[in-house]
């Protein structure tokens, strides 16, 4: 069992638990790029699938239960559907393992609290995969904002929308028995985390969605901040939207396409320029690799990760607040359509 500060210079031995689309496309290939970790096991209830993946990516162990490999590992990447993350994380902490948990961290803020307490008690690292924080353009522009060069935030507009197409294996994001919400909980949580990371907690907010008693597919959220700034967030998994972020400040404008990692448009003191803040190729595997590297270093040095559990919990808490605020529709003469009466 590993100590809180990783005792040796040897790489952190990692298992990935839950081998759906995000593991296959990001976590597994990312592990090969990070010197600080060694991917030793893949865990998934679909044993045939996980064995095939292990063979494909040269991972020595493929098992269907975490218990079958936990004596040989120091940390887990939890990429299961969110309804089982709390129990698996707590089990991992009890066993002395560090945890990098996919977002949303859990299905409720109460579960998040349990996970954080469990990590503290075990003195282990809990990190949450709010991947977008590792995009170099976000980090660069945030540093600029925090330095005061952009001045006060006036407004933020975020549009995020595409017809649902994520190649999920479990389809958990569409199953009401596995998740507490729809597009805000699953896809929108990135933007909620981004807004909190930049501007902190809003003073007030307005929220609307198109749920008819199930999982919302369209969302409008307006957040008002203490210094007068306002953020508008439009989110959809039924239609294509602009997929861009525009932030207006007292002294300038920052804009970037939602899925752009390195480039951004910066207008400062009346001058506009296109910047590429990182010149090496940058993709989701690279982002996952940086995130994993950050997690591994945090675990080895006994410091909090860049996105610790309590920050992951903030986003889940915000989602819960939105759902509490949503005007739940009563049976009507005719069912409303998005854009017609919502």
């Amino acid at each position: 069992m590993s100590s809180h500060i990783h005792a040796t210079d040897a790489p952190l031995r990692v298992a990935i638990v839950g081998c759906g689309a995000i593991s296959e496309q990001a976590h597994i290939p990312a592990a090969a790029r990070v010197d600080e970790v060694r991917l030793v096991a893949l865990v998934d209830t679909d044993l045939a699938h996980v064995k095939a993946l292990a063979a494909q990516f040269n991972v020595p162990t493929a098992v269907s239960r975490l218990q079958d490999c936990w004596d040989d590992i120091d940390a887990v990447i939890l990429a299961t559907p969110p309804h089982v993350r709390k129990s698996l994380a707590c089990l991992s902490f009890d066993k002395g393992l560090h945890v990098l948990c996919e977002k949303p961290m859990a299905n409720s803020s109460a579960e998040c609290t349990e996970m954080i307490a469990s990590a503290r008690m075990a003195k282990r690292t809990l990190a949450v995969a709010h991947t977008y924080r590792f995009f170099p353009n976000r980090a660069y522009a945030r540093t600029l904002y925090k330095s005061g060069r952009l001045g006060r935030m006036i407004s933020v507009h975020i549009e995020q929308g595409d017809p649902f197409g994520w190649p999920t294996r479990t389809l958990y994001t569409l199953r009401q028995n596995m998740v507490p919400g729809g597009v805000l909980f699953n896809e929108g949580i990135h933007a909620l985390d981004l807004l909190w990371w930049w501007f902190g907690a809003p003073e007030t907010f307005d929220y609307q969605d198109d749920s008819l008693g199930g999982l919302e597919s369209n969302v409008r959220l307006t957040l008002k901040y203490r210094e007068g700034g306002i953020a508008h967030f439009r989110l959809s998994r039924t239609c294509s939207l602009k997929n861009e972020v525009t932030m207006q400040f007292e002294k300038g404008i920052v804009a970037f396409p939602l899925y752009e990692m390195a480039g951004l448009t910066l207008e400062l003191n009346g001058q506009s320029k296109q910047l590429v803040v990182h010149t090496t190729p940058w993709d989701f595997v690279e982002v996952a690799a940086r995130q994993l590297q950050d997690f591994a270093s945090a675990a080895m040095q006994g410091r909090p990760a860049s996105v610790p559990g309590d920050e992951g919990a903030v986003a889940v808490n915000m989602v819960e607040s939105c759902y509490e605020k949503a005007t739940r529709r009563v049976r009507a003469a005719r069912t409303p359509l998005p854009g017609v009466t919502w």
Binding site: F164, T168, L174, G214, L215, S217, R331, R334, T335, G339
Partner: protein
């Protein structure tokens, strides 16, 4: 409508009409709703409502048995266009599977969504459900005729009640054929009226059709096998109908072309002969398989070329008749027997459609 305590299954539930019917059943009635979906991924409209998703396919009979367990009513909304093989497999064999599975599962009633296409493009003036079903050689229409004939035979010796709805041109939010695609083409300048849009439009707004379906699932006095034409009962000209759509994107006029000129266009004549050759191959050389579609390839080139060079949409023969015809169509039977009374006027439907388009469709 009293659906309390009833278990209903909607097939084709990720489609335009099926999805709207399923969500209205879930939200407005107290029915317990189950949706048959081929791909859960396409269910983001349905998952907004509390309903059960069952993965299945009408061409796979075994999947229907599970889906229909405990169901009282089935709304069979699956319908597909495309090749003859596809239309026959899904629209005819699929319907046969649905009827047999429903009978075996003890379902009391099936409401089947057919189409006005069963009467062909040339319905006589004052037409109603007494008109003859017509095979025209078009895959979709012929498969719907075949499915209705299958239902007529089926109800003779089975206890299952089957009600057939024959909607006209279904428009409104999410209608690709009669709303979204035409508006996109209008934005590009490629949508044209036929004969200044003088032909009569008997369209039906999606929520009016859903109302009719809910009535058909609920009225117990209707005899099995009965069929009902469903329209908005608010006829107008195609010009008025399409210009109302054009207004949504700020256009006040649409180009027009005369049907006679187009009918005699050399490109049209070649187009028509290629189509006939393809059908002849299908009838006389059934083993030609995909080759029949290779024969049709020049049609697409012709249509594209005509569009580019002449700036003119080459409508098929069916569309020319559909858009050029001046006629009346009766929905009296649906009014009398189903109690159908369209609730959404064309003006209201257009307002809703525009709001929906603004929210959900980026027209460039």
């Amino acid at each position: 409508m009293n659906y309390a305590g009833l278990h209903v299954l909607v097939t084709g539930a990720t489609g335009f009409i099926g999805a709207r019917l399923a969500e209205r059943l879930a939200f407005e009635t107290k029915a317990s709703v189950r949706a048959l979906v081929r791909e859960v991924k396409k269910s983001v409209w349905l998952t907004r409502s509390p309903m059960e998703l069952v993965v299945g396919d009408v061409t796979q009979k075994a999947s229907l048995e599970k889906a229909m367990t405990g169901c009282d009513i089935v709304f069979h909304c699956v319908g597909i266009g495309g090749s003859f093989e596809t239309c026959m497999a899904v629209n005819v064999e699929g319907t046969k599977n649905v009827l047999e599975a429903a009978q075996a599962a003890g379902v009391k009633r099936v409401v089947y969504l057919s189409s006005i296409a069963v009467y062909g493009p040339s319905l006589p003036d004052h037409a109603d459900e007494a008109a003859s079903l017509v095979r025209t050689g078009a895959a979709y229409g012929d498969s719907k005729v075949e499915a209705e004939e299958l239902i007529s035979r089926f109800v003779l010796d089975h206890s299952l009640t089957v009600i057939v709805l024959q909607p006209t041109f279904v428009w409104g939010p999410r209608s690709e054929w009669f709303t979204v695609d035409p508006i996109r083409q209008m934005a590009k300048g490629t949508w044209q009226l036929v004969d200044e849009g003088r032909g009569t439009c008997h369209a039906v707004y999606v929520d009016n059709l859903v109302d009719a379906a809910l009535l058909a699932g609920h009225r117990h006095s209707i005899k099995s096998g009965e069929r009902f034409i469903i329209t908005d009962d608010q006829p107008c000209t195609w010009g008025e109908f399409w210009l109302a759509h054009a207004k949504m994107i700020g256009k006040s006029s649409l180009p027009s072309f005369p049907s006679t000129k187009t009918t005699k266009h050399p490109m049209r004549i070649l187009d028509r002969w290629l189509w006939k050759f393809r059908d002849w191959l299908g009838d006389h050389c059934p083993d030609t398989g995909p080759f029949r579609y290779v024969v049709l390839a020049p049609r697409y080139v012709i249509r594209k070329a005509a569009g580019l060079w002449g700036g003119q949409t080459i409508y098929g023969d069916w569309d020319l008749v559909k858009y050029g015809r001046v006629y009346s169509l009766s929905v009296e039977k649906a009014k009398l027997s189903l109690g159908y009374a369209p609730q959404v006027s064309r003006e209201q439907g257009m307002r809703e459609t525009q709001q929906w388009m603004t929210d959900q469709v980026q027209v460039r």
